[in-house]
């Protein structure tokens, strides 16, 4: 579709290690529309940060390989760009906010200079113009006394303030895509609420598309339009926010949602954890990577890798339970119910789209 600003298709990334090649990302597909927020959720090691870094091409060249895949930004494949071309995209068209505001700023450079760096590189502003713009950016992200703060060093800011500065740097050149890799994980909840609100506000103002990488499902519910759930280097389920939360179709998504305590639920009910731990990416077999932890495994799960099955126009799952050859009585109740909910919602959406009354 032409309104997609960024499209990642069949992306594979692997690392060369002493023990051979280790796949970190295995065939990831997703796309991003203008002004929308896509959340990529997953546990550590699921490949979500590697995916983000490969879009920005920030992974070390000497031990990273991208054997397959395309990352198309406005129709052009970023993976085919030269070093110089990618430098022109990085920071101006696509920019990134990192997890740790303590280490992502240069401690020996004044804040103002760090914001101005991108401005003079990409927008060819003079020093004076860049400084003016840097000040505006600091005001935009809510840093009081911006003019004076331009000459402060990162250590003079608190964690939340530093993350605001990082966001100011990322947004200084009006990027079309912002990749935020766990932007609030290092922050306290009250500060997290401030930063999330700030990001939403700026997104509305600038119509930026955001890829939000996080493991916090609360943050996802607060921010995302669509969600991609990653496990062992794959997107195992993808859908709209409501589809993922209210009618999850992959046992892993279901497990994640169930293992979180519900603030309304009584305390006597035990949490339902996902048994075991995520697989070692170097030891992945032929079958579904979640098979070892899945409560609904079938024989096929261990031997064959599941393909994508579309559940609705917007939701797709990589799971054998969705295959039409799977006997209906083997599909757990929760997933069947979710499927029905998805269908009803899809019908409703179709009716809404037609602008008519249900027939």
């Amino acid at each position: 579709m032409d309104n997609h600003i960024l499209e990642v298709s069949n992306l594979h990334v692997s690392f060369k290690t002493r023990n051979g090649e280790v796949p970190a990302v295995r065939g990831v597909n997703f796309s991003l529309k203008k002004g929308e927020t896509l959340a990529i959720v997953g546990e550590s090691g699921s490949g979500k940060s590697v995916t983000a870094k490969s879009i920005m091409q920030l992974l070390p060249k000497q031990n990273t390989m991208v054997p397959e895949g395309e990352i198309r930004y406005e129709g052009k494949d970023l993976l085919k760009f030269s070093k110089k071309e990618i430098q022109n995209v990085r920071g101006s068209d696509i920019s990134m906010v990192f997890q740790d505001p303590m280490t992502s700023l240069n401690p020996t450079m004044k804040i103002g200079k760090q914001i101005m760096e991108g401005l003079s590189r990409h927008m060819k502003l003079t020093k004076k113009q860049a400084r003016k713009r840097a000040k505006e950016m600091l005001e935009l992200v809510g840093i009081p006394n911006a003019e004076a703060r331009l000459d402060a060093y990162p250590h003079q800011f608190s964690g939340g303030m530093r993350q605001r500065v990082v966001i100011a740097i990322a947004l200084a050149c009006n990027p079309k895509v912002l990749i935020a890799d766990e932007p609030t994980t290092a922050l306290d909840v009250t500060i997290q609420a401030q930063i999330l609100r700030l990001m939403r506000g700026l997104q509305e103002k600038m119509d930026t598309a955001i890829i939000l990488i996080t493991h916090d499902l609360g943050v996802v519910a607060n921010m995302a339009d669509r969600v991609a759930v990653m496990y062992a280097g794959e997107v195992v389920e993808q859908g709209t926010l409501d589809e993922i939360f209210y009618s999850p179709q992959h046992p892993y998504t279901l497990g994640l949602l169930r293992s979180m305590p519900n603030l309304d639920a009584p305390r006597t009910e035990p949490l339902i954890p996902i048994p075991g731990s995520p697989p070692d990416p170097a030891m992945l077999g032929m079958g579904c990577p979640f098979a070892a932890r899945c409560p609904y495994t079938m024989k096929v799960c261990h031997d064959y890798h599941p393909d994508y099955t579309a559940v609705s126009g917007t939701q797709a799952v990589r799971c054998w339970l969705q295959d039409e050859r799977t006997p209906e009585d083997h599909v757990p109740e929760v997933i069947r119910q979710g499927r029905q909910k998805s269908e009803i919602a899809a019908d409703q959406a179709a009716i809404d789209a037609a602008g008519g009354v249900p027939v």
Binding site: E43, V189, A193, R197, D216, D242, S259, R267
Partner: protein, 347 residues
């Protein structure tokens, strides 16, 4: 267990309280001029078999409370009654040894809290060697195997080193180590913060099961409020070295009184899109002030949406406003509110 000792020190605290903390302070002198008041006079009690959750943002002093109770830090001031012992000032060797055994700690970071050069067996049995020197090596080995099983690992893991385990498994080793000397009280300092979501539930369920099985008492320190609600019977909310509110966990979530608690609860993003769309958030402005330079009067007043003149002048008293629900805020103090000429906040 020395029964004489216990009777000797029977004190005035409630019968079933395992731990009573009164006016505990821990100040750190940074240099000649600055003193960092990490914990600045807090009081609470924990009943036997109960879990008290301690929540607050980073730098509020919650970990310092845990470390002071386990005597990793010497308290600056204040009194702690623990299981019939009165702990004040310097402790004699015998008392110290008992505390070191009866109070154990589970740390946040499962990577740095296990010695990488010791095997799992050595890590778990270290406490046994010190506190049960008469135990034969064979019994000790048996005990280690039992403990590993208890926390969901198996005896084949005993000879391995920490780096061979995942984060969740390491946290299990940390729990086994804490349980080895049969403690009565466990301080769990953010035990799940470093773990993945799918693993967090495993560890929380394990901690809960162990508590039921062994009648353990927990101080559960965390910043993740949804997990805290789930595991705690009562919750204390800390801000800049003081407890601002303490209540039963259901009560605290349903009826938060202190403006800080209200803001903190509304800031947790809920994993439910429908609720996220409809609820109203109280978003605090600004940052937590530095604990070396605490605001006068109420320490929350610089960020409080309801701050009044009295808040800068008078430090609010931590009062029980309803049975089992205490709060340190002038809004609930009839005298101050009368003086301000404002209406008293109803509980």
């Amino acid at each position: 267990m020395t029964h004489e000792l216990k009777e000797q020190h029977t004190m005035n605290a409630g019968q079933d309280d395992l731990l009573v903390v009164s006016d505990l302070k821990k100040h750190f002198r940074l240099n000649r001029k600055t003193v960092l008041k990490a914990v600045d006079g807090i009081s609470f009690s924990i009943k036997k078999g109960e879990t008290l959750g301690l929540v607050g943002e980073s730098g509020c002093g919650k970990s310092t409370v845990g470390r002071t109770l386990t005597r990793i830090y010497e308290p600056t001031d204040g009194e702690v009654h623990f299981d019939g012992l009165k702990l004040k000032g310097r402790l004699d060797g015998k008392t110290k040894k008992r505390i070191n055994r009866d109070v154990q700690m589970i740390f946040q970071d499962p990577y740095s809290s296990l010695n990488p050069r010791m095997t799992v067996s050595e890590i778990i049995s270290e406490g046994l060697v010190i506190h049960n020197p008469d135990m034969s090596p064979k019994d000790r080995e048996k005990r280690v195997h039992e403990l590993l099983q208890l926390v969901g690992l198996n005896k084949n893991h005993a000879g391995r080193y920490p780096h061979e385990f995942s984060g969740g498994q390491r946290q299990r080793i940390g729990i086994a180590r804490a349980l080895a000397v049969e403690p009565k009280f466990i301080v769990a300092d953010e035990p799940i913060a470093a773990l993945d979501v799918s693993i967090q539930a495993q560890i929380v369920n394990l901690l809960k099961a162990l508590q039921e099985e062994r009648g353990l008492t927990y101080l559960f320190i965390a910043h993740d409020l949804s997990m805290v609600k789930y595991i705690s019977d009562r919750i204390a909310v800390m801000y800049l070295g003081k407890i601002v509110e303490l209540a039963e966990s259901e009560e605290l979530y349903e009826k938060p009184l202190h403006p800080y608690t209200q803001a903190l609860l509304s800031a947790i993003p809920l994993p439910d899109p429908e609720k996220e769309r409809t609820r109203e958030q109280v978003i605090l402005s600004g940052d937590v002030p530095s604990p070396t330079d605490i605001p006068s009067g109420c320490r929350f007043r610089t960020r409080c949406p309801f701050a009044m003149d009295s808040c800068a002048a008078i430090d609010p008293e931590f009062r029980e406003v309803e049975p089992g629900h205490s709060v340190a805020c002038h809004l609930y103090d009839p005298e101050i509110m009368a003086k301000e000429g404002k209406e008293l906040k109803t509980v």
